[in-house]
Symmetry: C2
Subunit: 483 residues, 2 copies
């Protein structure tokens, strides 16, 4: 079962993709093969890397691309499209090729993440949906990964559904957060759909519903003796919440021999309150009781309260993770990189801009990651024209594409292509990993990054370099096209 | 047709709503009538008011609330819920009452926006979904309204799908943006589903697909002579884009007698480029050609470029509107306000917090807006206990609930209840307005606000006051419950 089984998203496109499609048809460009890249220019929060996510949903979308009669009727009502185009849409399906960097991979600015090779109308139509899914899920995976790193091995749970930007933001956001390193979610449907482990116990309303806090805690422990996380801050955490929790644990859990339990704090000075609560619990013989904390947390606040000696075992993180509040936009773009002539020649295309950062890398490309053989660490990513061959035994000279005199030569390296082939002639040829496999892969790949790339403030600018051949082609196109 | 027809969202709940539900059942509280309020504490971007949105979706959700056998099977697999509870879910439906402030209404902190009166399990279950929809759609409507006001009568279009936080953020976001004052969207499916007018013409890829910019423009004008908005910044806006656009208009549109056309800029110095482009178009006899601008706009940048004399007729606003980038979280909460005893007595409940701002307003309440009869302007909102009667002819004394010595007496006023009854015993009793009606209502209601409330920087703090009776009850509960 998948969310996309239930709601076809073909019409989630920008309207201009349809007008351009109609135009390509009328201009005889329907079958022209085009190459588009998704790439991004900046890592959110000025981080050193992002985490790629969303591919599973993109695959489901592409497999299900079609226009219903209802869709075509709606388009006809706009009084704009030719009947020929509407006819064409009736049998529309995706017949192209797609390459993508797998979910969970650390990714860097300006490298091609997803590459689409397809007839112009098809390639143009998928623009918005691919960007939307890639941008959203990568945003949340990237932010979550920062928060998980700040927690230094403590469990991080995703609690943000109520502040998510719409249903999909909650549902798919929990999935992306899991890829980024969350252990679980509060969002039930994300467990049901994707297997992101969901959990939860009580809100303040539960406590208020009873005549006393103690009665609320005791009743809860009786109903769920094996899932007793008690929310202790409804009235007063230290004077009332923690003592009542200890009393309930003693009365209900102790006689059953249950030691697994927890308290949760959702307000107040977490550093101070958890230190005090820890001491009270330990003195009462509840060393096994975990302490969970929530309340507007993010990577900076978590670092800060840990520095202050907070005693927290689990962090519940809500709005600041699910919306990536401090930087809520992942700026992936979808740009034409090449077209294919009828004889199969690939003609590179470039988008010029007054803003140098907005200039695209032209051509059908390949992207590789270079690892140092001795340390196993990722040293640089390397973008080539599609038909270049890298001989792994040979020294490889890389240079900064902006400061070309900065050159480094790698000798003892391994090299790995980053993109996998996902669709070939419209057929899925990729074996999708499971969600736990993606999470594990993500963790392993992050381990290949130097600490300098991982730090939150002023991380090292990871190298993403162009091959000499690609660089030359780009310079040539710039000279020819700049006006 | 509605997005919610296709995907039941009952399982989009926080897991704790299910554990609490199971607990209420086991504790004999299943049929206890509870009152919950949705309210918020702060207006995003430090604005003077927010715009309420999302009710239509909330209605559809409540009408469709049920658990499928598949849902129950999933819950059973968690090995946590009692069979009695799973049985109970099999026939679950919503039987309660709901009051809500209609979509498009300006709303203020601490007043009840949506009030749910229902048996405990039901009222608890809807918490996450109601918050999620209200928070998201109100966020986008509120942000859009700021941007629309900054545009001072110029057309604002929603262009943000590709940067939206998931599919629903794009689809429902476009609807919320329309309520907030957008004229249309690029998002096709939002037109199809909700009637938000969608439009669009071309991306840079269209221009790059042809051998020359001129050929791209000419072809487009030939295919869509009545929808010719040409994107002029692919190579060089003033040296190439605008001259080629004028040439294409002259060649294709002029002979057909078509004067309606436009150019669009998506990069560069909008103030400078649009002034120059305007002059070039006017000198070529294309005074009728509109200028559309996009590129990371928001209310501040729009104000700024208009101040610099930009000549823009339409603003396309993307990521900063659809994510409310500068403040991407609307902080609505859902709090228990009262419970009903078996004899029908309503017992007010309060949530205390060390953080005074987090203390709730207890009890089943009514909220009114007071308008000055002479000016028609909104003067204050007034929250009472549900059974209080306001005699409109009589002088009405309001006081600041925090600084109680600040008192004002209204004599020449009209008073309007803000919440409407939406559900009664689970039945929809509310006639939903159309989307254009909501947009119009929103505009009219904003006209009732003083300019001081509407300004972006340091707006006047609109009064939201409690009746003496409600204030007394709150103080009493605070005294009794503070520990």
């Amino acid at each position: 079962m998948d969310i996309t089984d239930k709601l076809n998203m073909t019409m989630l496109c920008d309207f201009y993709e349809l007008t351009m499609g109609n135009g390509y048809l009328e201009a005889g460009l329907k079958d022209r093969i085009t190459y588009f890249d998704i790439f991004f220019r900046d890592v959110p929060d000025h981080g050193g890397y992002a985490i790629c996510a969303g591919l599973e949903r993109i695959i489901a979308y592409i497999q299900d691309l079609h226009f219903s009669e209802e869709d075509i009727e709606y388009l006809r009502s706009k009084d704009l499209f030719s009947e020929r185009f509407l006819d064409y849409l009736r049998d529309f399906k995706f017949t192209g090729d797609v390459w993508a960097i797998p979910e969970g991979t650390p990714i860097f600015p300006r490298e091609p993440i997803i590459t689409v090779r397809a007839p112009a109308i098809q390639a143009q139509l998928v623009e918005t949906f691919l960007l939307l899914i890639f941008n959203h899920q990568s945003l949340v995976a990237t932010k979550t990964n920062r928060i998980v790193r700040a927690a230094e091995g403590r469990v991080v749970l995703e609690f943000g559904s109520r502040r998510a930007q719409g249903t999909d933001a909650a549902i798919s956001g929990a999935r992306a957060a899991y890829i980024g390193g969350c252990a679980g979610t509060a969002c039930t449907i994300s467990d049901q759909l994707f297997g992101v482990p969901a959990g939860g116990t009580m809100a303040h309303a539960w406590v208020q519903m009873f005549d006393s806090e103690y009665e609320a805690f005791k009743t809860y422990c009786e109903v769920f003796p094996t899932n007793a996380t008690l929310l202790v801050d409804t009235y007063n955490t230290l004077k009332s919440g923690v003592p009542n929790a200890i009393k309930a644990f003693n009365e209900v859990l102790r006689p059953k021999g249950i030691t697994k339990c927890a308290i949760r704090l959702d307000s107040g000075d977490i550093a101070y309150l958890t230190r005090e609560a820890r001491q009270m619990l330990d003195e009462a013989g509840w060393e096994s009781c975990k302490i969970s904390a929530s309340n507007s947390l993010d990577e900076y606040i978590i670092q800060d309260i840990l520095r202050q000696g907070a005693k927290v075992d689990l962090f519940g993180v809500g709005e600041r993770m699910i919306t990536s509040k401090s930087d809520p936009v992942f700026g992936g773009v979808y740009k034409l990189a090449a077209i294919e002539k009828e004889d199969g020649t690939i003609v590179p295309k470039i988008k010029i801009s007054e803003n140098v950062g907005k200039i695209t890398n032209p051509h059908f490309k390949k992207v590789y990651r270079i690892f140092d053989k001795a340390t196993g660490k990722a040293e640089a990513d390397y973008i080539t024209v599609w038909d270049e061959v890298i001989e792994e035994g040979q020294p490889l000279e890389l240079f900064d594409p902006d400061a070309t005199w900065k050159r480094r030569t790698y000798t003892d390296y391994t090299i790995k292509p980053l993109q996998e082939k996902i669709f070939e002639h419209g057929q899925l040829v990729y074996q999708q990993p499971t969600l736990p496999e993606i999470q594990k892969y993500c963790r392993e790949q992050i381990d290949t990054l130097w600490d300098e790339v991982k730090r939150f403030e002023n991380p090292h600018n990871y190298y993403v370099d162009l091959s000499q051949k690609l660089w030359d082609i780009k310079q040539d196109l710039l000279r020819k096209n700049y006006r």
